[in-house]
């Protein structure tokens, strides 16, 4: 028997298990999936927890509910990968060999990377919302906050779901308005980027929204340290910003097992071919989701488009055929903009987000780079789609590759 090992059973690993289990020849291939935690978190839902729109129970389900029955599941931490020996070693010391491996170990936030961030102010008036603990603690803080200076700060790029911080300030503007304290809250959006987003047309469009909502953007601010005694963030070039409430997106890094195995870059992301998703260093290893070093967004939707391409390339690798260079960096993100409206962007490695209709050209129902109620509905429906279609590896009515149909060049 040969073994296909899936390392990490979160969004991407679960999708791959569900796509491959029904088609790999059962008396030739054993699929084994390894993950260290039993609970699956719907991470996009973390955004809504601080505002009481979702609670903890709305974003969790047991991981095992989503794994196919013919997949061998091992719940234990992987200590180290030995890619030259085609083996992984578990925390208990147990060794597992593989013929093909898919790495889907994701990314996590690391507040301890920034001086002063995870000290006295942590979870008192400094919060993240990229973890369940942070999102819940922030909920409890916001419930009783009477206003002051709120600073949303992105420590450094890249981060997963690069639109989530924008969504957070849009929702905060709405929420403080609902609470009747918007006039008592000063909101600043502090980013290392030159504008509201990474690509120029969307940056301009989203920048106008910040302005309209009276949210001040502070661009090109790379945070060097936090002075939690005096409630200030300080940039590497010694600029200072005061806060009463700091909502931070800490440094995002790939899993520590990648560092322990010497397989990653300086942020533990794995060098990956941007079009085939094969590891650049090892022929029988493939990488998907947040774990890659690709210049695409780190998002569940991206993992979904990657999964379509990787599915085909795994079958090609099994058959000893050349791989397809089919991944184009396609990303599709709903941006919640507050007051029950949303914005949608669709883009890839080469084409930045453009206005238009999606997925049906000229029809929609969603509108690209435009604020509509239908887009908000799309965002809220994503949770159902995630649990019921996406994780199960089902086909969605959207091609893996981005299309220009329905988009307008500017």
């Amino acid at each position: 028997m040969k073994r296909l090992l899936i390392l990490g059973g979160g969004t991407a690993g679960t999708m791959m298990a569900n796509k491959l289990a029904p088609v790999l020849e059962e008396n030739e291939w054993q699929i084994t999936l390894v993950d260290e935690y039993e609970t699956h978190y719907y991470q996009p839902g973390f955004l809504f927890i601080p505002f009481g729109i979702y609670n903890k129970n709305d974003v969790i389900k047991p991981k095992r509910d989503f794994y196919p029955s013919n997949v061998e599941v091992i719940m234990e931490q992987v200590e180290v990968i030995k890619p030259k020996e085609n083996q992984i070693v578990m925390k208990s010391g147990k060794v597992i060999g593989y013929d093909l491996m898919i790495i889907a170990t994701g990314s996590k936030v690391h507040p301890e990377e920034t001086e002063g961030l995870k000290e006295d102010g942590w979870y008192k008036n400094i919060f993240d919302f990229y973890t369940i603990e942070g999102a819940v603690a922030l909920r409890n803080f916001l419930k009783y906050w009477e206003g002051g200076k709120m600073v949303l700060n992105i420590i450094e790029m890249p981060i997963k779901c690069p639109v989530a911080p924008l969504e957070f300030v849009f929702l905060a503007d709405w929420w403080f308005t609902e609470q009747g304290i918007r006039d008592k809250v000063d909101i600043k959006y502090v980013t290392p980027l030159p504008g509201a987003f990474t690509k120029p047309i969307a940056a301009k469009f989203l920048g106008q929204f910040l302005e309209k909502k009276n949210i001040q953007i502070v661009p090109e601010f790379s945070t060097g340290r936090v002075d939690s005694e005096n409630n200030k963030i300080i940039s590497w070039d010694e600029r200072e910003i005061d806060y009463d409430l700091l909502v931070t997106i800490p440094t995002n890094m790939g899993s520590e097992v990648i560092a322990r195995s010497g397989m990653g870059d300086d942020l533990n992301f794995i060098p990956t071919d941007p079009h085939t998703l094969q590891s650049k260093d090892y022929e029988n290893i493939f990488v998907i989701g947040d774990a890659t070093d690709l210049p695409s967004s780190k998002a569940g939707s991206v993992a979904h488009f990657e999964a379509d391409v990787l599915y085909e390339n795994i079958l090609r690798a099994v058959d000893g055929r050349p791989l397809k260079s089919a991944f184009d960096g396609h990303a599709n993100c709903f941006i919640e903009s507050g007051f029950n409206k949303g914005i949608l962007i669709d883009f890839n490695y080469d084409v930045e987000p453009l206005p238009g209709k999606f997925p049906l050209p000229g029809v929609g129902p969603f509108s690209l780079l435009e604020e509509t109620r239908m887009n908000h509905w799309g965002k809220m429906t994503f949770r159902w789609v995630y649990w019921n279609l996406l994780l199960k590896g089902a086909e969605l009515p959207i091609e893996a590759q981005m299309t220009m149909a329905g988009k307008k060049r500017q």
Binding site: M157, P158, P162, T198, G224, W236, D237, D266, P295
Partner: protein
């Protein structure tokens, strides 16, 4: 493609002035490139950064990030910002004759 003359040699540059071919670069071009972006004098510490970047690029085929300069090159991030104000990754790559670092997403 635009061209410009540096240290007596004509080289190809992109529309922002970054060298297109890192192999065209020689050390005597660095002071001129630095002046173009407002750095009047290259100190020994500047040269330590430039030489590390050239070496790392030759070995890895990628322009080192600020984090990599700290981890692998032992160059404190704070010093980088002091030496190459407002965007050290971009400015240092400019002077070292490497292309423009990939923007993030």
């Amino acid at each position: 493609m635009a061209e410009k003359t540096l240290a007596g040699k004509t080289v190809q540059v992109d529309d922002e002035g970054f060298l297109v071919n890192p192999d065209d670069w020689t050390e005597d071009m660095a002071p001129e490139l630095a002046k173009e972006i407002g750095i009047d004098e290259l100190t020994d510490k500047h040269w330590e950064v430039i030489r590390f970047m050239r070496k790392d690029f030759a070995e890895k085929g990628q322009i080192p990030s600020i984090r990599r300069m700290k981890n692998a090159g032992g160059i404190p991030t704070k010093d980088l910002y002091a030496m190459f104000p407002e965007g050290p990754a971009k400015k240092a790559a400019y002077i070292a004759g490497l292309g423009k670092p990939h923007g993030c997403v």
